[in-house]
């Protein structure tokens, strides 16, 4: 059973939400029910994929043990690095395996459980997460609404919600919002995205006039970008909505990304939970290390390398293919360029608040973003290959 796609999933979800509503409206705790429901949903997810189930179970046990082991001595660097290494094994091996068309230890949701398990390890090592019950940890890791594709919640925030027993009115408000979000997500994904996908017809560069051919390619990139947004934002809204019904206020993943006025702004609006995860656990850690050890001459250089590293990793995470790696590198360089421009340019400082500058900046950003999607979808490499092979 695929989550948020098969009719059987939605029927099961309706039943599970009804149960949650029954408990929540009677001001009963939802944590145990949510954990049992998650186990049932995951059983359905993996029912036809026993090898996947075995790896997912193995990962869950290993991550739980590694986290307990680190919790016993949080400041130990050896334990921290060893635990991070253990948790990363399935994700890394799945990504490398995919290059050779092999499924090596991959399973549905491997990326998202890995991100969550790493967040816990980082924060245990930082001394922010002091104790965590095994069932709390498992609930955070396996919470079914966000298991396969996020949004990526944070453990402290998640458990605060999971432990809350809300007054009837407050829960009713969450439930109502949850159902609305679910419905909005259904419209985004199954109406708008499906409709847009009809117009998505990537084609090679033809023999027509240059402007007409370019127009066709730009249209393809725009259709793809809009389709990607409505498909992924729709999924994220559904996942958020289902979470709300269980009393978990999963953070939002998109905030009007096409209204961004620069690329930094874009990454605060597009796939927000992934971008913030990378910001907190890659960019900030990298920059902190670089600043402490004075790796680079200036703050600006540090930030630029941080952005490139951060986004290159983001691209590699999507997949070790030329398209994704280029997409990551492209955004890293764009962020670095934006940072340099905003920090160095007098013109920017003088005009950054003027409506005309903001409008121009918005327009340029939108084109850069759409070009990024053309890299991501493989449209650009297809055109380049076409140009070489005539």
């Amino acid at each position: 059973m695929s989550f948020y796609a098969d009719p059987s999933f939605f029927m099961l979800l309706a039943a599970a939400v009804a149960g949650a509503a029954f408990l929540g409206l009677r001001e009963r705790p939802l944590k145990r029910y949510g954990l049992v429901a998650s186990a049932a949903f995951l059983a359905c997810l993996f029912c036809k994929d026993l090898p996947g189930l075995a790896v997912a179970a193995g990962f869950t046990v290993a991550a739980t043990l590694a986290t307990r082991w680190l919790l016993a001595s949080p400041s130990s660097n050896a334990r921290f690095y060893a635990s991070v290494g253990v948790v990363l094994v399935p994700l890394l091996s799945a990504k490398v395996g995919a290059v050779f068309d092999q499924n090596l230890l991959g399973f549905a949701g491997v990326s998202y459980v890995t991100f969550k398990a790493l967040q816990v390890l980082f924060e245990v090592h930082d001394g922010i997460v002091g104790k965590m019950g095994v069932f709390d940890y498992l609930y955070f890791l396996l919470f079914f609404p966000v298991f396969t594709s996020g949004p990526i919640d944070r453990s402290r925030r998640f458990l605060e919600d999971a432990d809350a027993v809300r007054p009837r009115d407050e829960y009713a408000g969450l439930l109502a919002r949850g159902i609305l979000l679910l419905l909005a997500g259904v419209v985004y994904t199954f109406v708008v995205a499906v409709w847009l996908h009809r117009f998505y017809a990537p084609s090679a560069w033809g023999s027509g006039p240059f402007v007409a051919e370019l127009g066709g390619q730009v249209q393809t990139a725009y259709v793809y970008g809009l389709y990607l947004f409505f498909d992924f934002a729709g999924y994220s809204l559904m996942a958020m909505g289902a979470s709300y019904c269980f009393g978990i206020r999963t953070p939002r993943n998109f905030r009007a990304p096409f209204a961004s006025v620069d690329i930094k702004d874009f990454w605060n609006r597009w796939n927000i939970t992934l971008s913030f995860w990378l910001r907190d656990f890659v960019f900030m850690r990298f920059s902190r290390l670089a600043l402490r050890h004075r790796w680079f001459k200036s703050r600006l250089t540090t930030a630029c390398w941080g952005f490139v590293f951060d986004m290159a990793l983001m691209g590699a995470w999507h997949g070790l293919t030329a398209d994704y790696l280029l997409y990551g590198l492209y955004h890293g360089l764009l962020l670095a360029g934006t940072e340099a421009f905003q920090k160095k340019s007098r013109f920017y400082r003088a005009h950054k608040k003027s409506p005309l500058f903001r409008a121009a900046s918005w327009f340029v950003t939108l084109q850069l973003v759409m070009f990024g999607f053309a890299l991501f979808s493989g449209q650009v490499t297809m055109l380049v290959k076409g140009a070489f092979h005539g």
């Binding site: 922010i128 960019f283 900030m284 850690r285 920059s287 600043l291 703050r299 940072e339 950054k352």
Partner: protein, 84 residues
């Protein structure tokens, strides 16, 4: 570290913030969100944490404090003060 008064800490923090934000507006708008004002971003935030560590020996991890609890000059001073 020797005892440091609130005024000394505030003075040194404002110097640090002015240096990182490259703007003396931080001295005037002490209760305003520095991220919303565009004076602080992720890089600025990490510089701030590293500088606080070097200057005061106070270590704050990147995700330790929620952004809305450490986004104004006065809140930053407060977060350092409670850890001294």
């Amino acid at each position: 570290m020797a005892e440091i008064t609130h005024e000394e800490l505030e003075g040194r923090m404002l110097d640090i913030l002015e240096d990182i934000c490259e703007d003396d507006e931080v001295r005037v708008r002490r209760d305003e969100d520095l991220f919303a004002l565009g004076l602080l971003d992720s890089m600025g935030a990490i510089e701030l944490l590293v500088t606080i560590e070097e200057e005061f020996g106070v270590s704050i991890a990147p995700t330790e404090v929620e952004r809305d609890e450490m986004n104004t000059a006065n809140l930053i001073v407060h977060q350092v003060e409670i850890r001294l």
